[in-house]
């Protein structure tokens, strides 16, 4: 190797080789990373108003069970997932309504209304929720989730605002 400060041919070749190698690595690497993590960056499902039942069928003070299915496109596969919950009317006022998601806040099992216990029971870890969704017993960290936004259509159907994800 020469001692002069000028770049020797040998060094020039080494540097060029390194740069070219790095450029190829970058040109391939960056898109690849984006390609690999792409699904993690996707937005969840779109929101929608979902009809859950006619208001007249819901008795005051008694949880009314409903369920619905949404289809999500995951990659090339269409996955239909079911959701469910309970609507509880507190008074004659059609807007005085508590709509709970029946997914247990502990580990996502589905809770069931038990007339006997007067509570929602989770079959997995014996959690117990009050009719208004408060935790009475068991491991869940917080009350049952509720669908805060709901509306009454002209035909007397209650619809909830649903956003998957």
């Amino acid at each position: 190797m020469s001692d002069s400060k000028e770049l020797s041919r040998r060094d020039f070749i080494k540097v060029t080789t390194g740069i070219v190698g790095g450029a190829i690595g970058l040109a391939l690497g960056l898109p690849s990373i984006s390609y690999l993590i792409d699904p993690a960056l996707r937005e969840g499902g779109k929101e929608a108003w979902i009809p859950i039942g006619r208001l007249e069928n819901m008795e005051i003070g008694k949880p009314y069970q409903f369920s619905f299915t949404r289809v999500q496109v995951n990659g090339w596969e269409r996955t239909s997932s079911s959701f469910g919950g309970y609507a509880l009317r507190n008074s004659e006022d059609p807007n005085d309504l508590l709509i709970l998601n029946s997914r247990c806040t502990h580990l996502a099992c589905t809770v069931n209304w038990s007339e006997q216990a007067g509570a929602y029971l989770c079959p997995c870890h014996d959690a117990k929720f009050s009719p208004t969704g408060e935790v009475l017993d068991g491991p869940p960290p917080r009350p049952l989730d509720s669908f805060a936004e709901h509306r009454l259509t002209e035909d007397g159907v209650i619809e909830i605002f649903f956003k998957a994800g």
């Binding site: 040998r10 070749i13 080494k14 060029t16 080789t17 070219v20 190698g21 450029a23 190829i24 040109a27 499902g45 779109k46 929608a48 299915t69 949404r70 289809v71 496109v73 269409r78 239909s80």
Partner: protein
């Protein structure tokens, strides 16, 4: 090889090493430059040429003409030409197994076959000549692979020429070269000239073949790649094949106006009863096989009808996204059938009328259907076909039959006044007012074809009278 020549070779190599270079960095530098060039080429090809979309595999579609990957095309063509040889051509395994097997065998065992230590090209006339002929042959076979061996008029001339250039001349050339080398001990120069002549004649004949080859119409199969494209493709196919019985929105419960199925009760296919309970694959089967006992004909190629597997899939996608309330329709799929018309604007066939006709009319008004011979698949057909063509579409005439029937006024038979000559159209459901409006405006303004022609007929709405102060 004896030890003496081995030693000679090794000494010779030492000499070359002494005046040589170093693997790193000299050789690697060149390697890296070439690799970079190749990488850039691949990137450019991937970006600007891409991978052409192809329809999904459809085992039932036997009309598809198979083509191998391009680097196997020469073998493919070789087989096709070989099959033309009388008698021998019938023994297929000679061409599929024996000849390629011998070629690969010779190639593999080359170091054992060509044993002389000589490396310079001037001392290797035979192997180089044979390889040159092989190479030219492979390239030419690849290039002519699309040329049929039998022309449409039944002439086999092109096939003969191809067999000459692809089989006979190279085969004979190689035999001559072998003879020259082993029997006549010809000079390298003479052999090189012979090989060149053989190659040249092959190139000239193949060039002639290519020049006179019938041009093959590029078959472009449309492939819908995105969900939105698939919905549109499905909608178009649905409009052509299904609307006649099921209506444009799938609501029909009693079929009207369809020969042989009049009054037939069917389940509305846009209902939850159907969409929630029939899986995609079951739907595909229903469309492909039909329900012959219930009156629905088959539509799939597997059962002798028109639709490919991909096309049936598109129809199912369309039905799901447009009718199944569990699916979220992409916004782009909801664009109106045709751009809304401004006041005074004249619709054109290309922009407005074609989508309307495709959606509501073509299902019946195409070849092979009961439609008074009135076809509507193109601009010309719409204006010039049909039993009542003289009265059907008259520019600027509101009494045109066409305009009457779409506005729920049947045309009565002049000879028997209580019999309908043409019923209302479409038979099952009246068109929406904006659709009727567009059709009326189009005919009243002389049926312009292109958007430019229509723009020329644009009548600006009269400015509203401004009250003078």
């Amino acid at each position: 090889m004896d030890d003496k020549s081995k030693k000679q070779i090794n000494n010779r190599y030492e000499q070359e090493l002494n005046k040589g270079e170093f693997f790193w960095p000299d050789s690697i530098f060149k390697d890296v430059i070439v690799s970079l060039g190749i990488f850039v080429l691949v990137l450019l090809l991937a970006t600007f040429v891409g991978v052409a979309p192809e329809p999904k595999a459809d085992p039932s579609d036997s009309t598809y003409i198979p083509r191998p990957e391009w680097y196997f095309l020469f073998l493919f063509k070789f087989l096709a030409l070989y099959g033309q040889i009388p008698l021998l051509g019938k023994i297929e395994w000679l061409a599929t197994v024996l000849i390629p097997g011998i070629a690969i065998g010779i190639l593999t065992l080359l170091p054992l076959i060509e044993k002389s230590p000589q490396r310079h090209y001037s001392k290797r006339a035979l192997p180089l000549s044979i390889m040159a002929i092989m190479l030219v042959g492979i390239v030419l076979l690849t290039l002519t692979s699309e040329v049929p061996t039998v022309s449409e008029d039944g002439s086999t001339l092109l096939g003969l020429l191809q067999a000459l250039a692809g089989l006979a001349i190279p085969g004979a050339g190689m035999i001559v070269l072998l003879l020259m080398s082993y029997v006549f001990k010809s000079s390298a120069r003479l052999m090189a000239w012979t090989a060149g002549l053989v190659a040249l004649s092959m190139i000239l004949i193949s060039g002639t073949v290519l020049a006179f080859a019938p041009e093959r119409a590029a078959e472009d199969t449309e492939v819908a790649t995105t969900i939105v494209d698939q919905i549109f493709a499905g909608q178009d196919l649905y409009s052509i094949h299904c609307v006649e019985c099921h209506g444009d929105d799938g609501k029909v419960e009693v079929i009207e106006g369809v020969e042989g199925l009049e009054g037939e009760k069917i389940t509305p296919i846009n209902s939850r009863d159907v969409l929630y309970t029939v899986t995609d694959s079951a739907m595909v089967e229903v469309i492909a096989y039909g329900r012959p006992n219930a009156g629905m004909p088959p539509f799939g190629k597997a059962y002798g009808a028109e639709l490919s597997k991909s096309e049936i899939d598109y129809i199912v996608v369309f039905m799901r996204y447009m009718w199944d309330d569990r699916f979220e329709v992409p916004q782009e799929a909801l664009k109106p059938l045709f751009p809304p018309l401004a006041k005074g604007e004249v619709p054109s066939y290309d922009v407005h009328i074609q989508p309307i006709v495709k959606r509501y009319c073509v299902s019946c008004h195409r070849a092979g259907k009961e439609n008074n011979n009135y076809l509507m698949t193109s601009y010309e057909e719409i204006l010039t076909t049909g039993d009542n063509v003289d009265y059907n579409i008259i520019a600027g005439d509101e009494a045109s039959y066409f305009l009457q029937v779409i506005q729920e006024t049947p045309i009565m038979n002049p000879e028997k006044p209580d019999e309908e000559l043409i019923g209302v159209m479409p038979p099952s459901r009246a068109l929406k007012p904006n659709v009727v409006g567009a059709l009326v405006r189009w005919i009243m303004n002389g049926m312009p074809r292109t958007a430019e022609q229509a723009a020329g007929l644009f009548v600006p709405p009269a400015p509203e009278a401004t009250p003078t102060p």
